[in-house]
């Protein structure tokens, strides 16, 4: 006789046969197997009601299930055992369809229970472990998982992922993602946002803009230009799940310098005239102001590099009122003073800009905006002043001399503009190398790489190549070939393929390509599913991105309009990681070791690119191939493959898969060779790419070598590159550079203390030393 049952959590509960029959009833309803019998009983006005047919049959089946259990001698059956018995009783009773629906019902319940359990485990991990011990909390290093808002963000993110996996993704996509064949990036934002955008600041600033929390007027000097640039990045960050970039930082900020100079020139001219003529400000100021505004209407304004047309006209007019010699002297004074003041103000503006981007909050305070800026091509003196000061403040570092993490700076390199001695911006390129050798930024983008050059039209900054700092690149436009520009566009979503797994499974090259094709099609379909969800979003869902006309053509839409049409300018990208491991699995050697492997590598990536081009044509959209950054993904695929296939030397024997098409980080190779091998992949990965090399020691001591590497990047056709070197800092004495076991400045080793006397002694040598706020 069964009195109690054992629940899944181990508790014993009183046995209740009605619970079993209720589940069986549901199964009968789902299968419809009793429908005819019920109908018959209704038609005959049988004494038994229709529900009674159902419940009595269910009870009968439940009773025979109990009989089966008792026959097996079970006294305290477990839930699973009871369910097995019910399945058996249904089959034996001749209710095959109902047995089937009961099994399905059971499987569905199990799935929901597992997902719920997993979600609860995840939430518990987020709640009770610190980022130090929880890998999950360090999935994205830019989010501080230890803070309250960081934790809240993680709750939301993990719950959203579970929800979309269960309720929104097609089962085949969901399965491929959770089993690690593919990785759907930013799944937590699946139904909400697109990835990123290149913000055209010039367009945004015209007439001012609204952050959603208030209107900001058109900026009126370089300080407000820089402040508003940071606010624009911050505001847009909240409407997207990826990063924000400014493609025309040099051009846009130059406008601010122009206005600042004009104002400074006017005020200094007035000051000089007051001094020289002995007249009052009330008399002079209106005269000069009126003159300047009349001249401005005729297109004559004071400029950073003085222009004769303005100077002469101004001298002529002012000489009618004041002594000519005095006027000329005042002009000279005003030019010199205004230049110096503008330069100083610009430096402060850039300093504040960098500080803002490293301290202002986005995403409820969990992180600073993920920001990038592109510059380097504008040769106007005002733009050059902006770039020089930006580089100088980057070189100085933040308040305590720390290296700024944001913005990611991308210096555009082009022959005839910045690459070679004699080029108008060569001095800035040299400075960029020097700063990068100390601070890791700027990175370098290469306008002359053929696949970048093909879009470039001189005099049209929107056709210059722009990168999102992480590497994303948007320029070609299959949807609208008349708009092959970067401004106002970005990536919509991307999904990466686990390339090494295909190689491990398929073993032969032929089969590899077959399976790769299947996977490419699966990802394309998944991207289109997501695109359909994104297309249904409305302008009001993106108050800044779409509401303020940041995204291309969104200014033509109304608040309630869907964004489906305008987001066709964005890209749907297919990514990949672990080309090196893929090649090892297929041939035994990666592309750093063997020419044949390099050839195969290019064939694989070339094939993927062809697929993207084909899908673009077929669907009239922009499919592109991405060399996935894979911060969080680097460990996920290999962990799963290790479990599935065991340790395979050179393939699954490390804790990470190699980034995109890179030559493995552990492989000894010269910087030049590495870059030459990786460059051809840049040409194929039109959704974005980056290559970097690791330099030993302190590259600021060898700037020639640094510059040589950048030149080599340009020569071999790298699109976007950077040079890595250790950047260490001792927070106690403020030293920045390479620190081995001991700090070269104060001599302390990691974790050890120095005395206050020593600090005072050092401060005499290094007056800029920050005050250490730690406890003694």
């Amino acid at each position: 006789m069964i009195v109690t049952v054992k629940k899944r959590d181990g508790r014993e509960m009183p046995f209740n046969i009605e619970k079993i029959s209720a589940a069986i009833e549901k199964a009968f309803r789902a299968s419809g197997e009793l429908d005819e019998q019920i109908k018959a009983s209704q038609d005959q006005l049988n004494l038994l009601g229709n529900d009674d047919v159902l419940s009595s049959t269910a009870l009968q089946v439940a009773a025979s299930a109990v009989g089966l259990l008792e026959a097996e001698g079970k006294v305290k059956p477990e839930i699973e055992e009871i369910q097995d018995a019910v399945e058996k009783a249904l089959t034996e009773g001749g209710y095959a369809d109902t047995a089937k629906s009961y099994i399905l019902y059971r499987a569905e319940r199990t799935r929901i229970r597992e997902v719920n359990t997993r979600l609860m485990h995840t939430l518990r991990d987020i709640t009770f472990s610190s980022a130090k011990e929880s890998d999950l909390k360090r999935e994205n290093a830019n989010i501080d998982g230890d803070t309250a808002m960081g934790t809240m963000l993680k709750y939301g993110s993990e719950s959203a992922k579970h929800f979309y996996t269960m309720m929104m993704l097609k089962p085949e996509h969901s399965r491929a993602h959770s089993e690690g064949d593919i990785h759907i990036h930013d799944l937590d934002f699946y139904s909400l946002t697109m990835t990123c955008c290149q913000i055209d600041l010039k367009k945004l600033f015209k007439g001012g803009f609204n952050t959603g929390h208030g209107h900001l007027r058109e900026p009126k000097d370089i300080r407000s230009y820089a402040a508003l640039a940071a606010i624009a990045i911050q505001s847009n960050q909240n409407d997207q799940h990826g990063g924000q970039s400014i493609p025309n930082f040099d051009y846009a900020m130059a406008d601010g310098v122009r206005i600042t100079y004009r104002k400074a020139y006017l005020s200094n001219l007035v000051k000089a005239l007051i001094l020289f003529t002995g007249k009052e400000e009330e008399e002079i100021l209106p005269v000069v102001k009126k003159l300047h505004s009349e001249m401005a209407e005729m297109g004559m304004v004071a400029t950073l590099v003085p222009n004769e047309k303005f100077q002469d006209a101004e001298a002529r007019e002012l000489s009618k009122v004041y002594d000519t010699e005095m006027v000329m002297k005042a002009q000279k004074f005003a030019e010199k003073q205004a230049y110096e003041e503008t330069d100083k103000t610009t430096f402060q503006a850039m300093e504040a800009f960098v500080h803002n981007l490293n301290s202002m909050h986005s995403r409820a305070g969990a992180q600073t905006p993920f920001s990038s800026i592109n510059y380097g091509m504008c040769t106007e003196p005002e733009a050059r002043m902006v770039m020089r000061n930006l580089l100088l403040t980057t070189d100085e570092g933040l308040g305590g001399g720390e290296t700024a993490i944001f913005p990611i700076q991308i210096f555009r390199v082009k022959e005839g503009i910045s690459l070679n001695p004699g080029d108008p911006n060569y001095d800035l390129f040299k400075l960029a190398c020097k700063v990068s050798a100390k601070r890791l930024f700027p990175n370098f983008s290469f306008q002359d790489a053929p696949y970048n050059l093909q879009y470039y039209k001189p005099g049209h900054p929107e056709t210059e190549i722009s990168y999102m700092g992480c590497r994303t690149r948007v320029i070609g436009n299959n949807y609208d070939p008349t708009r092959e520009i970067s401004f106002g566009r970005g990536n919509l979503s991307f999904t990466s393929i686990n390339l090494p797994r295909i190689a491990i499974k398929m073993k032969s090259v032929d089969l590899f390509f077959k399976e790769l094709d299947r996977m490419l099609q699966l990802v394309s379909d998944q991207l289109m599913e997501r695109f359909a969800v994104q297309s249904r979003r409305k302008v009001k869902n993106f108050p800044f991105l779409m509401g303020q006309g940041v995204w291309i053509d969104s200014e033509k839409l109304g608040w309630e309009d869907t964004v489906g049409e305008v987001i066709k300018h964005g890209t749907l990208s297919i990514g990949f990681i672990g080309l090196a491991e893929t090649l090892v699995a297929l041939t035994g050697k990666h592309h750093g070791e063997s020419e044949a492997s390099q050839e195969l590598g290019l064939k694989i990536i070339g094939h993927m690119r062809e697929f993207c081009d084909k899908e673009s044509k077929r669907l009239g959209l922009n499919f592109s191939l991405l060399a996935t950054p894979a911060e969080g993904l680097s460990g996920r695929f290999v962990r799963m493959d290790k479990k599935k296939f065991g340790i395979i030397p050179g393939v699954t024997d490390r804790d990470y898969y190699t980034n995109s098409f890179h030559v493995p980080v552990y492989y000894k190779i010269s910087a030049f060779k590495k870059l030459s091998l990786e460059a051809p992949y840049h040409a194929l990965t039109n959704a974005g790419h980056i290559s970097y090399v690791e330099l030993d020691g302190d590259p600021t001591q060898n700037l020639d070598a640094f510059e040589k590497i950048v030149h080599h990047m340009a020569k071999v056709g790298i699109g976007y590159g950077s040079i890595n070197h250790p950047v260490d800092r001792d927070p106690v004495c403020g030293f920045v550079g390479v620190i081995g076991d001991c700090c070269p400045r104060c001599g302390r080793s990691e974790g050890h203390a120095i005395s206050e006397a020593k600090i005072e002694e050092l401060r005499k040598l290094y007056p800029g030393m920050p005050a250490f706020k730690g406890i003694r």
Binding site: A141, C470, G632, A671, I690, A705, A757, F772
Partner: protein, 48 residues
Amino acid sequence: MSEKELSKYGEGVGFERIRRITGYLVGTIDRFNNAKRAEVNDRVKHGV
């Protein structure tokens, strides 16, 4: 010895080590996930 010579600044304070994680920086290495940490440890220098 005077108090100044005896006082201890920076006991238990480590060095900050910034490395490029992919195309971007993320602050010091202790914020890297396990896989990325392993990768950074494996990185070899490239000769020029």
